[in-house]
Symmetry: C2
Subunit: 251 residues, 2 copies
DNA sequence: CGCTATTTTGAAAGGGCTCAAGAGTAGTGG
DNA sequence: CCACTACTCTTGAGCCCTTTCAAAATAGCG
């Protein structure tokens, strides 16, 4: 219902002003595609936020470099995702291509005037911002109090769900990013990431595809993976006991 | 320039349509104030996001309760702050009063139609969303790779800057929240928070005001505090060395 | 096939957590 | 006003998980 399929997009376009767009996809579709090879930068933290990008194919990572040189990856963006929405004058983070990636871009002005004209686009943008915020919140929870194993499982589970949404039949996960990328995203070291994956393989939760070794993982026991992730997707069952005074023990 | 004082708000109102508002403050100003005593809930994660709130006085904490009962505080809100902006249909987190607090509220509809009418308000909202996102990013960095001491100093420094903005003369920080709140916010245990504060006192960075014991801290060496926070507010000096391949050692 | 980059594995150290107890603070009622 | 109780905060000791440092194994590439 929310996803504008090719069909509905075409249908509703008839009713829209000729210069308008019905969804963000339409807005971007007229822009030429650009290509970025792996590790090529898209923009840098602090640069003037002149453009909004849509990932056409491939993967982007968005990150900050902190004073001592360490890198914190705050997110990965995949085909269809849009980067640069909830921004002020300057980019809050840097972005570069994990692997070979294609994007389309709109100038900030194009984007802003596009959404100013259409309440529908504003709604769509607002939903995306909300999603982005929700993702940031989830990441804070993960970094606040999850163990290495829980972090790894949460990450893999998220990728698994994404590939299921895209209609993947087999329970396999493609990892375009390196172990170092995963470590910088999950707030761990590369060694801990590696060890944790090994542990999950020993537990028969995962299995390494001998094909594109290490960057393709198949999930043997998805249920166990979900349990180990420790999300339990909200504890909505206990939502209504009021007055939970602080966290009870443990971090 | 950005802060709409009583005066400018009154002045510019003449030029605006009678039903419009020039800034969010105006939009809220007509609403009655509501009072929440300490620990009283404002709304719960997952509830229908029916209202947007403005803090008039006091402090709110916004948090999530995760499956094992632990609490993660994702932010504190102080006088003037607005909560519930970047939301979809449901609240992403719960909110309650840290201490005695007063708020004003708008229904989602009031808020949405208010900003729909005014490009100026949309700009203001967009800026607030951007700030919220920036804060979330900073928190991710803090949780990803800062030590207990760095976290504590970052937190205190933020509060110090806030109180400076409000025109405080003395270098003192009021902590309306409990040690447990701080711990749940910084991803630490209450014991570590306590120990870290003690350590900072021993280092002569802080000093406890014997007045409102423990919830009023004076900063003896603000410069050292900033150094220990390890922010170095962006490493904008090194922004342009491209191709920083992963974080170099250490997390 | 040899070189380099990435990943894995091992051993030791450390920082924050856990468990436990003590000290300080606040609220209550005699 | 002070004793009593409940709660928050602090301090101590030991442990565990993750990090650190180091080296070997594997993958990628010319």
């Amino acid at each position: 219902m929310y996803i504008a399929s090719e069909h509905t997009a075409h249908f509703t376009r008839k009713h829209a002003p000729s210069d308008g767009a019905n969804c963000l996809r339409d807005l971007f579709s007229k822009q030429p595609v650009e290509h970025r090879s792996g590790n090529r930068s898209l923009f840098l933290e602090g640069d003037e936020a002149a453009h909004v990008f849509q990932v056409v194919e491939g993967t982007l990572r968005i990150f900050k470099i902190i004073s001592d040189g360490r890198r914190v990856i705050t997110g990965f963006l995949y085909a269809g995702d849009i980067v640069g929405i909830s921004l002020g004058k300057r980019y809050l983070y840097s972005a570069d291509a994990v692997s070979s990636t294609t994007v389309r871009r709109l100038t900030r002005n194009q984007f802003d005037s596009g959404i100013d004209e259409s309440p529908r686009l504003r709604t769509e943008v607002s939903a995306l911002v909300s999603d982005e915020m929700a993702a940031a919140q989830d990441q804070m929870v993960l970094l606040s109090c999850k163990s290495a194993e829980e972090r790894m499982c949460s990450f893999l589970l998220k990728l698994l769900k994404k590939s299921e949404l895209l209609g993947e039949r087999r329970l396999s996960i493609e990892l375009p990013m390196s172990r170092q990328d995963i470590a910088d995203y999950l707030g761990l070291t590369i060694e801990t990431v590696s060890r944790t994956i090994t542990k999950l393989i020993n537990k028969r939760v995962l299995r390494i595809e001998n094909a594109v070794a290490r960057h393709s993982i198949s999930v043997e026991r998805p249920v166990l993976l979900a349990q180990l992730a420790g999300d339990d997707d909200d504890c909505s069952d206990m939502r209504h006991d009021l007055v939970v005074q602080g966290s009870q023990r443990r971090h």
